[in-house]
C-alpha cells in the first residue's frame, strides 16, 4: 500500500513537470509581417477621359529612399463594361489607354500583374451631377483692417449658394479653381492651407451628402475668374478621404478597395460652373 502511494505521488510530480514543460516549450508562433513589396495604386479616373493610373511601391520608413519608387514593368488591364483594355506604361509609373474614354454607369475592373502579385480592384463611373447651379455669378470681397485671424468671418458678404440634385444622398465634392493667368491675391483672404499656409488657387472640399453649399469670400485666396467643379464621388473615395483612424495610439491601416495592394481605384464624374470674385 505504501508503495502504491509513493508511486502515485511520483506520478503527480511527473504529471506536473510534464504540464509545466508543455507550457514552457512555447512553439514558435508565426506572426504577421508587413509586406511593402505590394504595389500602390493611385487611380482616380474621370468620366469622359482616358483611363489612367499611377503605380508605385510604398516607401519603407526604415529605408534610405526619399520618395516612392515608380513601377513601369507591370501588366495592367482594365475591363470596361465587360471589354478588356490594356493600359500601357508611359514611364514614371503612369499607365494609360488613350483609345477609350470612360462613360457614366460603366463598371470598371482593374487587374495588375506585378512581381508575382495579382492586384485587383473595381469601381463604377458615377453619373454626372444634375441641376448644378449657383445663386449669383460673382462674389464681392469686403476687406477689413486688423483681422482677427478668423478668416474675416464677422463682416462677410451674403453667402452665394450653389445647389444640385441629391435626393439619394450621394457623395459630392466641390473644387474651386482660379483660372486667371496671373491671379491677384486677396489681402488677408481665406482659402489658405497646406503646410506653409499659402494662398491656394485650387481648393477641394471634403465629400458631403448634402445638395447645396454656401460660398463666401473666405473660401477664396485670389480675385478673378474661378471654375466651380462639382464631382460626384464614390464611397471608396469618401472612406479614404475621411480616414482619421491613424492616431498614434491605435494604428489601423487606411481603408482601401485594392485587393493585394494599397491605394485606391475610383471614378468621378463632374459638372462645372463659372464664378467671379470681385473687389
Amino acid at each position: 500500500m505504501l508503495n502504491y502511494f509513493t508511486e502515485m505521488k511520483k506520478s503527480y510530480i511527473i504529471l506536473t513537470i510534464s504540464f509545466l514543460a508543455t507550457i514552457m516549450s512555447c512553439k514558435k508562433v508565426e506572426f504577421d509581417v508587413t509586406n511593402l513589396n505590394k504595389p500602390t495604386v493611385d487611380g482616380i479616373v474621370f468620366a469622359n477621359q482616358n483611363p489612367k493610373i499611377h503605380l508605385t511601391l510604398p516607401i519603407g520608413y526604415g529605408d534610405d529612399a526619399t520618395s516612392q519608387t515608380t513601377i513601369d514593368n507591370a501588366q495592367v488591364s482594365m475591363e470596361i463594361a465587360g471589354i478588356k483594355y490594356i493600359l500601357t506604361s508611359t514611364g514614371n509609373g503612369d499607365y494609360i489607354n488613350d483609345k477609350v474614354k470612360l462613360k457614366a454607369g460603366q463598371e470598371l475592373n482593374l487587374t495588375i500583374l506585378y512581381a508575382g502579385y495579382t492586384v485587383t480592384a473595381s469601381t463604377i463611373v458615377p453619373t454626372k451631377p444634375k441641376n448644378f447651379q449657383t445663386s449669383a455669378s460673382q462674389i464681392q470681397v469686403i476687406t477689413q483692417q486688423g483681422g482677427f485671424g478668423m478668416g474675416g468671418g464677422f463682416n462677410q458678404t451674403p453667402a452665394t449658394t450653389i445647389s444640385w440634385d441629391n435626393d439619394t444622398q450621394e457623395y459630392y465634392a466641390l473644387l474651386t479653381s482660379n483660372t486667371e493667368a496671373t491671379p491677384e491675391p486677396i489681402a488677408g483672404g481665406g482659402g489658405r492651407g497646406g503646410e506653409m499656409n499659402v494662398p491656394l488657387a485650387k481648393r477641394l472640399s471634403q465629400p458631403t451628402q448634402t445638395n447645396s453649399q454656401n460660398l463666401n469670400q473666405r473660401q477664396f485666396s485670389f480675385y478673378g475668374k474661378h471654375d466651380l467643379i462639382l464631382f460626384k464621388v464614390n464611397a471608396e473615395y469618401t472612406n479614404l478621404y475621411n480616414n482619421r483612424g491613424q492616431s498614434s495610439l491605435n494604428l489601423t491601416n487606411p481603408p482601401t478597395n485594392i485587393t493585394n495592394g494599397f491605394g485606391i481605384f475610383t471614378a468621378m464624374n463632374a459638372d462645372t460652373l463659372k464664378i467671379q470674385v470681385v473687389k
Binding site: T66, Q68, G190
Partner: protein, 925 residues
C-alpha cells in the same frame, strides 16, 4: 535571460541561508551579567547570535546581577524567569520571547478553569477575533499543531473536525498577526470557542531584533490554488507613489503584471482588469480606480482582509473570465472608540471606529485628494499627453493638405486671447460599515462605498483686446470634464444555524457612473448686438446599475465533506449615450438583463487528498441560454509540507467593459451588456497545476497555467463631425451645419494565456520578502486585425520581482525591484501618397504587424523607510518616507509617431520619474 535565471537562483540561495538557532541547552554561559534585562539579553544575543523580543516593555528595565557557572542558557533563563517573575519561550520563528509573568494572560479568552478540557474533542467550532479590536477575522487558519486545519469563513467562524485523539494544542494563524497556541485546558465550551489573536505591534522595544511573524503576503496553501492574501495593515511598509494601495501591492506578486505603471488595475495571468471580479463586502465594484487609473479606489484603512484568486477559482464565484478579488471591510473596533488619519503628499485620510454597547460597531473612513505635487504631476502627465496626442495625429507628408489651416478656429492668432484653465480636480472615497450582532448566532451588517473622481481640465478663452476695442465680445469655453465613480451598498445577514450550517444572505446595489464632457461653446456678440452661440464636441455618459440578491450556505456535513451552495440573482441596467454638439445623440444604448446563478460544491478530504468538485449554472435573460460551468480544485499532500495542486474550470462573463481606442482616456471605457449577437458572451477555460513546499519560515512554489479565451470583444467607435456649410475657410461652422457619422465596430476574437510562475518567499523574521519569476505568453486572434495570432497588448514574456522588508529597532525598511519585458505596440512601417483632383496629395501610412514591436524593457526600483513612534507619548504613529523609481528609469509608457522626410520618428512618452512621498499616520489606538 541567463542573467535573470542566475539572479533568481542567487536570490533563492540567499533566502535559503537561514538563521540557525542553536539549541539553548547546548549553549553554556559562564560569566557575570549585570545591568538591565534589556542590556543583558542584548549581550547574550550578541555572544550567541540569537534573536529575542521583549513583549512587555516594563520588564526591560529590571536589574540583573547574575554569574552562572557553566550553566546551559536554558537553565540560566529559567533561573532568571523564576527570580524576576518572567515568562520566556521560543517562538515559531526561533526567536526568544520574554514577558511579564505576573500579568494576566490577556490572550486567553477562556482562562484555564476547573472546567477546562484535558484534550480537544474530535470537533470544535467558534470564532477567531482580533484581540485589540474584537473584529472577527476572515480566512484565518485554525489547525492542530503539526496537523490538519481549517479556515474561518468570511465572518470569522470556523468548525474544525476530525481532531486526532489526544490533541492538546491548536494553532491560530492569520496574516499580520502573531501565531497563537491554544491549549485544551483553556477551552470549556468546544462548540462556542472564541479565539483572540494579537496583531503584530509596531511599537516595539528597541532591543527587539525581530517579531513573531512579519508576513505581508501569504500564498494560501490551506484553502485554494492560486490564491494570494495581502495584509492591508502591512502595506504601509511598502514603497508607494502617494497612497498605500492594495492593488499596487498585488502588482508585486507573481502572475500579476507590475509594469503597467499608469494603471492600478490588475492584469492577472494575461487577463485584463475588466476580467477581474472585484467584490467588496459582497457587492460588485465596477469602478476600481482613481486619477485615470493611477490609484485603486480602496482605502486600506477601511479594509480588513483581501484575497485574490488568480485563476481556477471555485464555483462560489462567477461572471468574470480571469480572476477574483474579494475585499472584506472592517467592522470597526468593537471594544473602544478609535480615530486616526493619514496625510500624504497626495491625499488626506481620516477614519473613526465607534462601538455602541457590545453588539454594535461602526466604521467610517473618508479620503480626499488635494492638488499637491504628486496629484499635479500625474494629472499633468495625462493631460499633457492627451493634448499632445490630439495634436499628434500622424503627420502627413509634404504636399499634403490637412484640415482647416492655422486660419482656423483656434489657429495661429489666439495669442492675443486670455486663456484660463480651471484646475478643479480631485478624487474622494467614503467607506462606512455598521455591524450589529443581536445574538451570538446572527450578524447584520450594512456596508456603503462611494468613490468618485472629478477631473477638470477645462479652459476659457476670453475676448482678445483687438476685438474688444471694436465692440465684439468673444469667449470660448472648452470643457474637458470627466466624472466617474462607483456607489455601492450591501445589507448582509449572517446566521449560524448550528456548528454545521452557516448562511449569508445579502441584498446589494452597485452603480457605476461615468460622464465625459468635451463640449466646446463659443459665444460671440458682434458690435451690432447679434449673439451667436456655436457648440461642438461630445458628451459620453455611461451608467450601470446592479441589483443583486444572493444567499450562500456552508454545510459541514461530516469530517470529510464541507458543502457550499448558493443562489444569486442579478439585474443589470446599462445605459450608454454619445451626444454630439450637445444636441445630437449619435449613440443611445439602453440594455437590461437578468442573471440567475446557482452553485454547489463539496470540499472533500480523504487522507492526504483534498478535492473540490463543483458546478455553477447561469441563466442569462438576454440570450435566454443556460451556461454550465464545471469547476475542480485539487490538493494532494505528497510529503511533509510538500503539495501538489491543480485546478480547472469554465468561466463566462456577462457584463463587459469595452475600451475606447485612446488608451489615455482611462475614463472613456464603458460597460455594456452582451447581446449574444455582435457582442457575444465571452468564455474562458482554466487549467492550472503546480507544486509547493512550505516550511516554518519559507515557501517555495512553481505553478503553471493555461487559459483559453473565446468570443472576446474589442471595440472601436469613431465619430466624424462633417461640416457641410460655411467651414471651408476654416472659420466657425454655421449653426446646424454639421452632421455626424458614427462608425461603431465590435471586433470578435479569441485568445490564450499561458505561463509558469516561480516563487521563493521568506515568510517570517526581521527580514522577509520574496523573489518571483514569471514566464508567460498572451496571444490574441482577431480576423479584423490580422490573419494570424498576435501578441496581446498586455503580453509580457519575462517578469521578475523582488520584495524585501527589514525591521530594525523602530524602523521598517523596504525595497522592491521589478523587471519586465517591454509590452508590444504597433508602429507604422511605410507610407504612400494619393493624388487628388485639385492636384494635391494625401499621405497614408501602412501600419506594421499588429503589436509587432516591443517597448524597451521595464524596470524600477522603489524604497521606503517607516519610523514607528508614539506621538505625544501615547498615540501610535508612523512617518513614512517613500521613493518611487529611485534611479529615475525612463520607462516608456507609449510611443508617438511622426513622419519627417519619409522617415519614422518615434517619440517616447515616459512614465513617472523619481517621485518621493512622505506620509504621516496617527491613531488613537
Amino acid at each position: 535571460m541567463k542573467k535573470l535565471i542566475t539572479c533568481f537562483l542567487l536570490c533563492i540561495s540567499q533566502l535559503i541561508y537561514a538563521q540557525n538557532v542553536k539549541s539553548l541547552s547546548q549553549i553554556t554561559v559562564n560569566q557575570l551579567y549585570t545591568g538591565t534585562l534589556q542590556s543583558v539579553l542584548t549581550q547574550i544575543s550578541k555572544e550567541n547570535s540569537l534573536k529575542f523580543s521583549i513583549l512587555d516593555p516594563e520588564i526591560g528595565s529590571i536589574e540583573i546581577i547574575e554569574r552562572p557557572a557553566n550553566q546551559s542558557l536554558e537553565e540560566f533563563l529559567n533561573l532568571l524567569a523564576k527570580k524576576k517573575k518572567l515568562k520566556w519561550y521560543v517562538g515559531e520563528d526561533g526567536i526568544l520571547y520574554f514577558k511579564n509573568a505576573s500579568k494576566n494572560e490577556t490572550l486567553n479568552i477562556e482562562q484555564s478553569t476547573k472546567n477546562g478540557l484535558h484534550e480537544f474533542p474530535s470537533r470544535i467550532s467558534g470564532i477567531v477575533k482580533d484581540f485589540q479590536t474584537g473584529e472577527a477575522l476572515p480566512f484565518a487558519s485554525v489547525s492542530v499543531k503539526g496537523g490538519k486545519g481549517t479556515t474561518t469563513n468570511v465572518d470569522g467562524y470556523f468548525t474544525l473536525q476530525n481532531i486526532p485523539k489526544g490533541t492538546k494544542l491548536l494553532l491560530v494563524n492569520y496574516l499580520g498577526y502573531k501565531i497563537r497556541e491554544v491549549s485544551a485546558s483553556q477551552i470549556s465550551s468546544p462548540n462556542n470557542v472564541v479565539l483572540e489573536i494579537e496583531p503584530l505591534s509596531k511599537q516595539l522595544d528597541e532591543v527587539v531584533v525581530s517579531t513573531a511573524k512579519e508576513e505581508l503576503m501569504k500564498v494560501s496553501s490551506d484553502d485554494q490554488i492560486s490564491t494570494i492574501k495581502l495584509s492591508p495593515a502591512k502595506l504601509a511598509t511598502l514603497p508607494n507613489i502617494g497612497e498605500r494601495d492594495i492593488f499596487r501591492g498585488f502588482q508585486l506578486m507573481p502572475g500579476i503584471s507590475g509594469s503597467n505603471e499608469a494603471s492600478s488595475g490588475l492584469y492577472v495571468r494575461g487577463g485584463t482588469p475588466d476580467q477581474n471580479l472585484v467584490l467588496y463586502d459582497g457587492f460588485t465594484i465596477y469602478h476600481v480606480d482613481h486619477l485615470y487609473g493611477f490609484f485603486s479606489a480602496f482605502n486600506s484603512n477601511a479594509i480588513k482582509d483581501v484575497q485574490l484568486y488568480k485563476g481556477g477559482f471555485d464555483a462560489r464565484y462567477g461572471g468574470r473570465l480571469s480572476s477574483v478579488v474579494q475585499l472584506t471591510g472592517k467592522e470597526g473596533n468593537a471594544k473602544n472608540i478609535n480615530v486616526g488619519g493619514d496625510v500624504s503628499l497626495l491625499s488626506m485620510n481620516v477614519f473613526a471606529e465607534v462601538p455602541l454597547g457590545d453588539k454594535f460597531s461602526s466604521l467610517i473612513a473618508f479620503r480626499r485628494s488635494y492638488t499637491g505635487g504628486i496629484y499635479s504631476k500625474i494629472f499633468n502627465k495625462f493631460n499633457t499627453s492627451t493634448q499632445s496626442n490630439a495634436q499628434n495625429q500622424l503627420q502627413q507628408g509634404p504636399g499634403t493638405r490637412g484640415g482647416p489651416g492655422p486660419g482656423g478656429l483656434l489657429g495661429g492668432n489666439n495669442r492675443f486671447a486670455d486663456i484660463q484653465t480651471i484646475p478643479k480636480s480631485y478624487f474622494y472615497d467614503l467607506n462606512a460599515k455598521f455591524t450589529y450582532k443581536p445574538t451570538t448566532k446572527d450578524i447584520i451588517s450594512l456596508s456603503i462605498f462611494n468613490g468618485t473622481d472629478d477631473l477638470d481640465n477645462s479652459t476659457i478663452i476670453s475676448t482678445p483686446a483687438a476685438l474688444a476695442s471694436r465692440g465684439i465680445t468673444f469667449d470660448n469655453t472648452t470643457n474637458d470634464k470627466t466624472n466617474y465613480g462607483n456607489l455601492g451598498s450591501s445589507l448582509k445577514w449572517s446566521h449560524r444555524y448550528s456548528d454545521k450550517l452557516y448562511s449569508n444572505t445579502l441584498i446589494s446595489y452597485s452603480q457605476y457612473y461615468s460622464t465625459r464632457n468635451r463640449l466646446s461653446t463659443i459665444n460671440i456678440t458682434r458690435n451690432n448686438g447679434t449673439p451667436i452661440e456655436i457648440k461642438s464636441g461630445f458628451i459620453q455618459d455611461n451608467n450601470l446599475e446592479d441589483y443583486s440578491i444572493r444567499s450562500d450556505f456552508e454545510y459541514k456535513m461530516n469530517a470529510s465533506n464541507d458543502v457550499n451552495f448558493g443562489l444569486q440573482l442579478t439585474h443589470n441596467k446599462i445605459k450608454y449615450d454619445y451626444t454630439q454638439n450637445d444636441t445630437v445623440k449619435v449613440l443611445n444604448r439602453n440594455n437590461a438583463g437578468n442573471l440567475a446563478a446557482f452553485y454547489v460544491q463539496d470540499n472533500i478530504k480523504i487522507g492526504f487528498l483534498k478535492i473540490t468538485p463543483g458546478v455553477r449554472v447561469n441563466q442569462f435573460s438576454v440570450t435566454n441560454k443556460v451556461y454550465v460551468e464545471p469547476r475542480l480544485n485539487l490538493k494532494l499532500a505528497l510529503l511533509e509540507g510538500f503539495n501538489f495542486v491543480a485546478a480547472a474550470g469554465i468561466y463566462h462573463q456577462f457584463a463587459q467593459r469595452v475600451e475606447q481606442e485612446d488608451i489615455l482616456n482611462g475614463s472613456s471605457n464603458f460597460w455594456l451588456l452582451p447581446n449574444g449577437d455582435n457582442i457575444p458572451i465571452s468564455s474562458s477555460k482554466h487549467f492550472i497545476a503546480g507544486l509547493n513546499y512550505e516550511t516554518k519560515n519559507y515557501y517555495f512554489s512553481v505553478e503553471g497555467y493555461y487559459k483559453s479565451l473565446s468570443d472576446i470583444t474589442q471595440y472601436s467607435l469613431r465619430v466624424q463631425a462633417r461640416p457641410t456649410r460655411g467651414r471651408e475657410g476654416g472659420g466657425p461652422p454655421t449653426p446646424g451645419g454639421t452632421t455626424s457619422t458614427v462608425l461603431e465596430n465590435f471586433f470578435i476574437g479569441s485568445g490564450s494565456a499561458k505561463g509558469v510562475e516561480l516563487m521563493a518567499q521568506k515568510k517570517a523574521g526581521a527580514y522577509n520578502g520574496w523573489v518571483s519569476y514569471t514566464l508567460a505568453q498572451v496571444l490574441n486572434n482577431f480576423d479584423a486585425f490580422s490573419t494570424k495570432d498576435f501578441p496581446a497588448s498586455q503580453d509580457v514574456r519575462n517578469e521578475f520581482k523582488m520584495v524585501h522588508t527589514y525591521r530594525w529597532k523602530k524602523f521598517d525598511f523596504s525595497a522592491t525591484w521589478i523587471y519586465a519585458t517591454g509590452r508590444p505596440y504597433t508602429a507604422p512601417e511605410g507610407g504612400y501618397t494619393i493624388s487628388l483632383p485639385d492636384g494635391s496629395t494625401r499621405s497614408y501610412n501602412i501600419v506594421g504587424a499588429k503589436n509587432g514591436k516591443r517597448l524597451p524593457d521595464y524596470h524600477r526600483f522603489d524604497i521606503a523607510a517607516v519610523y514607528n513612534f508614539k506621538l505625544f507619548k501615547n498615540l501610535p504613529s508612523t512617518l513614512s518616507l517613500s521613493t518611487f523609481n529611485v534611479y529615475n528609469r525612463k520607462n516608456v509608457w507609449y510611443k508617438q509617431f511622426s513622419i519627417v522626410d519619409n522617415q519614422l520618428v518615434e517619440v517616447d512618452v515616459t512614465n513617472l520619474g523619481i517621485t518621493p512621498n512622505l506620509t504621516l499616520s496617527v491613531r488613537l489606538r
